[in-house]
Amino acid sequence: MTTLITILFFGVAYGMILYLISVGLSVTMGLMGFVNLAHGVFAMLGGYATVTLMNRIGIAFLPALAIGCVLVAVLGFVLERTLYRHLYGRSELDQVLFSFGLILVSVALVRIAWGPVAQPIRLPDYLKGQVTIFDLALPAYRLALVGFGTAVIAGLWFAFDRTLFGARIRAAVDNRAMAQSIGINTSRLFAAAFGLGTGLAALGGGLGADVLAIAPGYPLQYIIYFLIVVAVGGLGNIKGPFVAALAIGLSDTACRYFLPEAGSIFIFAFVFAVLIWRPNGIMERR
């Protein structure tokens, strides 16, 4: 029984990381219709920012995380205004190539700046080691991850459902032309949504530095998982990817525990099956 709970716990933690990173991609893809393969870059930069602020400058973990997110969000905002916006109408191939080029450039720059080795995250003492809850020894860091992640996700959902900003985004995703005609400045909305999405990705990258190692190969190695979450969860909504991310996190972790010989085969086969059944994602937006 404890085994099951431990697996559940690890799976949920992993799923939350995936969700935090991918939700921004789902929103921007649904909003702008832009195939952005380079989304992983922002998660990676968030990880690097957090780790550098902590290790080199000595800032505590949570503030470092917050500053990292803000920095990356600003970068995302700037990139959207300068580069991305010129490519909105272009063909899918062009968008794929552009974002691929962006990945290559950022991988190279990161490698030159930080070297090729994965960044070690030196956690504060209160996050090291294990915490015993109800006879269950769980790694403290993962526990904090789950708690923090839940808070962020709750806040995000509230913002999406209850604020004006969220309503505007939902309107623009549903029908951009209509949204524009009722006076929503979609251009500014895109930039803001892009900044928010990349900031969240940075948060996921920094929090998940333990699970998805911060190294130059990050965007290339993990992009498939982010795309899976978005494709299975559905574009433009934020609840679908949550279910998808949890499903992937849980099944991947369970597989590693019970069936390590299968590796990631199960995940990909599972994804194929789901998408053949529901090509637009499990929570189709009508």
Binding site: L104, V107, I276
Partner: protein
């Protein structure tokens, strides 16, 4: 009566036309003959040249999908690797004839393409792109785990092919490999040229441009796309088999995302949708990589990424696109 002078003019015109088309055909063969004489001039570069031929073949198969059928795939290496592993595994288990194993590789890759194609091609956009990546990733993981069959991370050991046509052995100097892959490339190129100029080829272009309209005129879209995918898969599998035969080795890398990305870049650099794009993009990419990546892979990535972004934003259509626009510009100026 005016029949005599007219028929003389006609016959002269026809004869002139025949000579001219014969000359053009000869001219088209010329570059092939020049390349075939490379070993006489530049010794030691046969392995690199062979690798370039294999990549050109691979890129041609991708061009069918990306440039003509309008299917963007980031998982094409999955089919390349399937062909390579098929040929390699067959050779390890005793079936070592290059031509037989190449045909088997094509068959296996085509079948894989059929299975995945039918599953994937009903989706589009991001979902399709992601599924192409997932299909290659799935094959990669299976190959990674089936260590007994594929060697896993260590690569397939013991790959050895018998001499081509019983005479030409694959030695480490690479001369047999060079001519073998060049010949196969020539044959495949001729085939692809015929294919894209056939009604099937034109229907693919139509589907790429506007599938709604094609459906309206009764074209079976799904079927055409799947057929295109299967043909591209078979050719990619052939390229993979060639790779296995000319290097006497198969590694997981041939199924990897890096290869899928690289071959797409190679094609785009040269220009997709124009068959010669593969012939330009691949050598340029591979020669540049051969020279630049030796110093520092980070700089190679940087340069490549910048070029890619620049191409997308400023010069869509690749090198051939630039060439075409330059030629057009010159023609316009001459006319003015």
């Amino acid at each position: 009566m005016t029949t005599m002078p007219v028929s003389r003019n006609v016959s002269v015109t026809i004869r002139f036309g025949v000579i001219r088309s014969g000359l053009i055909r000869l001219l088209k063969l010329l570059p092939w003959l020049v390349i075939a004489s490379l070993p006489l001039v530049l010794a030691g570069y046969e392995p690199l040249a062979t690798q370039i031929f294999v990549m050109i073949l691979f890129a041609l198969s991708l061009d069918l999908l990306v440039g003509y059928a309008g299917i963007v795939t980031l998982g094409h290496a999955g089919l390349f690797g399937m062909g390579g592993y098929t040929a390699g595994i067959l050779s390890v288990h005793g079936i070592t004839d290059p031509l037989v194993t190449a045909l088997c590789a094509m068959a296996v890759a085509a079948f894989t393409g059929l299975v995945f194609g039918v599953a994937m091609l009903r989706t589009k956009g991001l979902t399709l792109l992601m599924l192409t990546m997932a299909s290659a990733a799935l094959l990669y993981e299976i190959a990674n785990k089936a260590t007994g069959l594929t060697g896993g991370e260590d690569g397939l050991q013991g790959v050895a092919f018998s001499p081509l046509l019983g005479v030409f052995a694959f030695d480490f100097r690479g001369k047999t490999a060079f001519f073998y892959s060049l010949t196969v490339l020539f044959l495949v190129f001729s085939f692809v040229q015929v294919l894209i100029n056939s009604p099937f080829g034109w229907s693919l272009r139509g589907i790429r441009e506007n599938d709604a309209r094609m459906a309206a005129i009764g074209c079976p879209i799904m079927r055409r796309r799947v057929i295109a995918y299967v043909i591209a898969a078979a050719l990619a599998g052939l390229a993979g088999a060639l790779q296995a035969q000319t290097t006497q080795f198969v590694a997981l890398h041939s199924l990897g995302f890096e290869l899928s990305g690289n071959i797409l870049i190679m094609l785009i650099l040269g220009g997709s949708g124009r068959l010669y794009g593969a012939f330009i993009g691949c050598p340029v990419f591979m020669l540049a990589q051969d020279q630049l990546a030796k110093q520092d892979p980070a700089n190679w990535f940087l340069g490549l990424g910048v070029i890619l972004i620049a191409f997308v934003m400023l010069a869509p259509g690749g090198i051939l696109g630039i060439a075409a626009r330059t030629v057009d510009a010159i023609k316009m100026r001459r006319r003015a």
